[in-house]
């Protein structure tokens, strides 16, 4: 209660200072979608609080992270702060083609999504992180159902990874099993942690799991442009997907087309917003390790990093 009062007092003071700039923003709330992973939630709250400090009204709505693009397109939701190239690229592009939303710029952060293992795996298979060494240890990763082949636990199918194709293209002794959700992946890692069983699973960065379970990505033949469309790229001349995923995928922001006219100041800030990997990891850490509420974590992060976000505000605002 009290911290909230102080915050809102601070917000009010800021608001009066920036009133002249925020004057032409609509008083309707800016609707920010939140999904079910911590960095996105904290980032959304942090940006929401920045908007509030400019005198805007902000509301949050929980949504599915794929279906959200349809809502942004229709204007029911104003923006989206984390568009991951690998997982949401397709939904984003489809909505882009239909019209109604647009690209509002990239974050500084790069994303990497690929095969990954927790550190204890390396004890059993010391040749890691090379993928050939991994393949030689395939039997270590066998489960009750896979016989003597290893099991690779891929991400949910709607993230559109190509684990199966890669296993075939590189002739690996692995069976690909898709987990249905991020949570199911964590459950498998946690279960493996109990008896330090070797596992190789899909994982990505930036992500809270890095702090809980230290680990590494498997090094596959480096990504070349066209590896997913041109068989001649990559080591296997006859197959697609014979490379690792790009190690520097984009992390974008998306905005509803109408945002620019309705909330010009907020829109201007949105295009400038850019978080780095370290900042995103820190936001996730505040919630996942420090057990803060996302709102508190956002406040905490904003007050510790004023130099980062003050620069995004309209000139003369602070």
């Amino acid at each position: 209660m009290k911290t909230k009062l102080i915050m809102s007092a601070a917000a009010m003071a800021l608001a009066s200072a920036t009133a002249s700039f925020a004057a032409d923003d609509s008083a309707d709330p800016i609707i920010i979608p939140i999904h079910n992973w911590s960095s996105q939630i904290v980032m959304s709250h942090a940006v929401g609080q920045i908007f509030e400090s400019m005198g805007n009204n902000v509301e949050f709505v929980t949504t599915d992270s794929q279906a959200v693009y349809e809502s942004v397109r229709l204007g029911d939701v104003t923006l989206e702060l984390e568009v991951w190239e690998g997982a949401f690229g397709q939904s984003f592009r489809t909505a882009l083609e239909k019209g109604g939303l647009h690209d509002a710029g990239d974050h500084n952060a790069v994303t990497r999504e690929d095969w990954w293992y927790p550190m204890w795996t390396k004890d059993a298979c010391p040749g890691l992180p090379s993928w050939e060494a991994l393949n030689d240890c395939a039997a270590l990763f066998a489960t009750a159902e896979t016989g003597d082949k290893g099991r690779y636990l891929d991400g949910p199918v709607d993230w559109l990874k190509h684990g199966k194709e890669r296993v075939e293209a590189l002739g690996m002794d692995f069976v690909v099993v898709n987990a249905g959700s991020a949570a199911a992946l964590w459950a498998e890692i946690a279960a493996a942690e109990a008896d330090k069983r070797p596992v190789v699973v899909f994982n990505w960065t930036p992500n809270f799991a890095e702090a809980v379970w230290p680990g590494e990505f498997v090094e596959f033949p480096a990504w070349e442009d066209g590896c997913d469309t041109d068989p001649s790229k990559g080591p296997n001349p006859d197959a697609l997907y014979d490379c690792g995923n790009p190690a520097d995928g984009y992390l974008k922001k998306a905005a509803w087309d109408g945002m620019k006219d309705k909330w010009p100041n907020a829109y201007d800030v949105l295009t400038k917003i850019s978080f780095t990997n370290a900042q995103i990891a820190e936001m996730a850490r505040l919630v996942d390790i420090e057990e803060m509420e996302p709102e508190e974590a956002a406040e905490e992060w904003l007050s510790a990093n004023e130099d980062v976000w003050k620069g995004w505000l309209p000139e003369g605002a602070s």
Binding site: D158, A183, E188
Partner: protein
């Protein structure tokens, strides 16, 4: 009853058609057709290696472009005909109501712009309401639930959830009651509504997602619409059922008393059908709370969203605590609403003072005002930073809001103990053994066998079974529906879905029926069993999915277990109901003729309970079809997994093709089992 109706319908085919039907229902002919269908299926299976590919699976070239057609139809109805403007207008009204409730409960910045209620106010008003309606036990339950929500640090989320439930549940109840009455009035309405309801119930949740978001705007509105759509079917069915059962004597008495049509309905029919309507209400509340987590994907605020968030960062303990809150809310709302309906009007002696007549409303208002002023007034007076607050003002502050650090949440400790439990060697050994044996020797071989079968063989077997148990019409429908599933083009995935559904239902019968039989011997045990059913029905399935994954890995057995927990509920519930409702004269007759307990059970009780148990089996199948899609959360390879893929890139047409594959399979079984139960009931003279 439905049987009579179909027979007497004049447009029901020519005399010739009726003749063929009668012939096909002749026992000897039925047996012949049944066995020859099975024979053809067996032959096809044996000959499979030599069959042309076109007979094993429908060739791609013959599949219709259903996806494009559905997409085109959707765009036409939604945008060209302008349905979206109608639904958006409705959701505008709904939004206004939701916003007002949200403002009162948790201070959302909307009309009427009050401040959020302190938790002490809500908890004490709930306790007083509980006392007024059902005595101290209910008071403790109602008040205790809200105290729990506050001290565990979930207050705001609970109020966010409640703000939607308090709109959705009454809405579902009212709409369900009205449609139920309408169905009872008009046979034709009933015949149109019933299959529609079933489609609503079995259409996978992933198919609701996109239309709900497009038509009703992501947020509490879409969540409310989806929740109401799910909770309607049992309410409608139970209302109609109850009204049909009103005894003619009561109706005569009403007519003699000169009741108008409205009075007949209000004072004769509805009160007489109270039991069934209450069951409907119970189901509305249970289903509303069961939807709390799923609808988080389309904007349901509160506990569900927080639960998914906790699971996303693997906080088992926290998600478990949230699950408990959801169950408690379900139980409280259910008991309060039941007590309210059952309560008889109180009569006071002449001359009782006004305050005594209205003691409970007065207490409620007084508690509200006093606690509100204490919590709010004092909190506003002293804006000290939190750390420096003195004890009395801390106490007052806590009456207003319990902060995260003060809450009694044991999330971390819970996580640690789960992990410790899982690292025990014997636990690992047991779960590994179960996983190995069940997967390798049971689930994987049966799955492979089902996939090996040629498509027509499967269709024939299912047609044969539907015909044998349900009769001619269910048989023909089975043939048509499964042919449609084959034509929709996802046969292998459909078979994997069917496999999980069958296995989970089979194991549910194996475990559930004996448990139910055991529990009905004592009334207390039976009651406990029903409470357990309520709990498992509302406890968010997501919460136990994760421990299940940790125990059994991402494998078929985990999927079956997660479905099983859901399918056991109706099996047990309806078996208990069926056994309890066996007329006591009959069991006494059995006792007198010297039957052993086993004879009494197998010769008297079970046969009489069988039609009711069939309804349970049917419900179990419907639930299994529902859960098998949710189990995608663990990782499956069936229709659910493919549906997930359609969400990336919002492929509405594709999504519906998959959704309808599920619907047609579920409809087939529903129709066959219901027809069987109906026949059986008539045979036993139970209707």
């Amino acid at each position: 009853m439905a049987e009579i109706a179909t027979n007497s319908r004049p447009e029901d085919g020519t005399r010739q058609g009726a003749g063929i039907r009668a012939l096909l229902e002749e026992p000897s002919v039925a047996r012949g057709v049944f066995w020859s269908l099975l024979g053809v299926a067996a032959l096809l299976t044996v000959l499979r290696p030599w069959l042309p590919d076109g007979l094993v699976r429908i060739p791609e070239a013959l599949l219709m472009p259903w996806r494009d057609w559905i997409d085109a139809a959707f765009d036409f109805v939604a945008f060209d005909l302008g349905l979206i403007h109608v639904t958006r207008f409705l959701s505008g009204i709904l939004e206004f109501v939701l916003d007002a409730v949200a403002n009162i409960l948790y201070g959302r910045a909307r009309w009427p712009r009050f401040e959020a209620l302190p938790w002490t106010v809500v908890a004490s008003v709930a306790a007083i309401t509980g006392y007024a309606l059902g005595g101290w036990r209910l008071s403790l339950l109602a008040g205790g639930t809200f105290v729990w929500a506050a001290v565990i640090g979930q207050w705001k989320w609970t109020m966010e959830t409640m703000s939607v439930i308090l709109v959705a549940a009454p809405l579902g109840f009212t709409i369900g009651l009205l449609i139920g009455i309408w169905c009872w009035k008009s046979k034709r309405v009933e015949e149109t509504v019933k299959p529609l309801l079933l489609v609503l119930q079995v259409l996978p949740f992933f198919s609701y997602l996109l239309p709900a978001v497009i038509f009703f705007k992501v947020g509490p509105t879409a969540a409310t619409v989806a929740t109401v759509a799910y909770s309607l079917p049992p309410m409608i069915l139970m209302t109609t059922l109850g009204l049909k059962k009103v005894s003619p004597e009561v109706v005569e008495a009403g007519k003699m008393a000169g009741c108008s049509r409205w009075q007949m309905l209000r004072y004769v029919y509805l009160p007489s059908a109270r039991t069934e309507i209450l069951v409907g209400l119970n189901q509305v509340i249970m289903l509303c709370l069961a939807m709390v987590v799923l609808t988080a994907a389309i904007g349901m605020p509160g506990l569900g969203a927080k639960l998914l968030e906790a699971m996303g960062s693997f906080k088992l303990g926290r998600s478990f605590e949230i699950g408990i809150t959801i169950v408690l809310l379900a139980v409280v709302l259910d008991r309060l609403s039941k007590a309210w309906v059952v309560k008889q009007p109180e009569h006071f002696e002449k001359g009782t003072p006004w305050w005594k007549r209205n003691i409970f409303p007065i207490m409620g208002v007084a508690a509200f005002v006093i606690l509100y002023l204490v919590a709010r007034g004092v909190a506003e007076m002293d804006p000290m930073p939190f750390d420096e607050v003195s004890f009395p003002s801390w106490l007052v502050g806590i009456m207003d809001e319990v902060h995260r650090k003060e809450s009694l949440s044991q999330g971390r400790e819970f996580d640690a103990s789960i992990k410790a439990f899982l690292s025990l060697d014997w636990v690992n050994a047991i779960t590994y053994a179960i996983r190995y044996v069940v997967n390798v020797y049971f689930l994987i071989p049966t799955e492979k066998a089902l996939l090996y079968l040629p498509t027509p063989a499967v269709i024939f077997v299912i047609t044969a079974i539907a015909y044998r148990i349900g009769g001619v019409i269910p048989g023909i429908l089975a043939l048509i529906f499964f042919s449609i599933v084959a034509q929709l083009g996802y046969w292998d995935r459909a078979m994997l879905t069917l496999h999980s559904v069958f296995m989970a239902t089979f194991i549910a019968l194996l475990l559930g029926v004996p448990m139910a039989i055991y529990s009905v011997r004592k009334e207390k045990r039976a009651k406990f069993m029903i409470l357990l059913c309520d709990t498992f029905q509302t406890f968010p399935s997501y919460v136990y999915l994760l421990p299940a994954v940790m125990l059994f890995g991402i494998s078929p057995v985990t999927v079956i277990i997660s479905i099983l927990i859901y399918t056991m509920v109706p099996v047990i519930r309806y078996t208990v109901e069926g056994l309890r409702n066996v007329p006591p004269e009959l069991t006494e007759a059995a006792d007198m003729s010297g039957a052993t307990r086993w004879q009494k059970l197998t010769k008297v009780q079970l046969p009489l309970a069988l039609p009711t148990m069939a309804v349970g089996l049917n419900q179990a199948l419907v639930f299994a079809f529902f859960m098998v899609i949710i189990a995608e959360f663990i990782g499956t390879r069936d229709l659910g997994q493919e549906m997930r893929r359609t969400l990336a890139g919002t492929n509405l047409g594709w999504n519906f093709v998959l959704g309808f594959s599920v619907v047609f399979m579920a409809l087939t079984f529903d129709i066959a089992i219901n027809a069987w139960a109906e026949k059986r009931r008539k045979l036993l003279g139970l209707d």
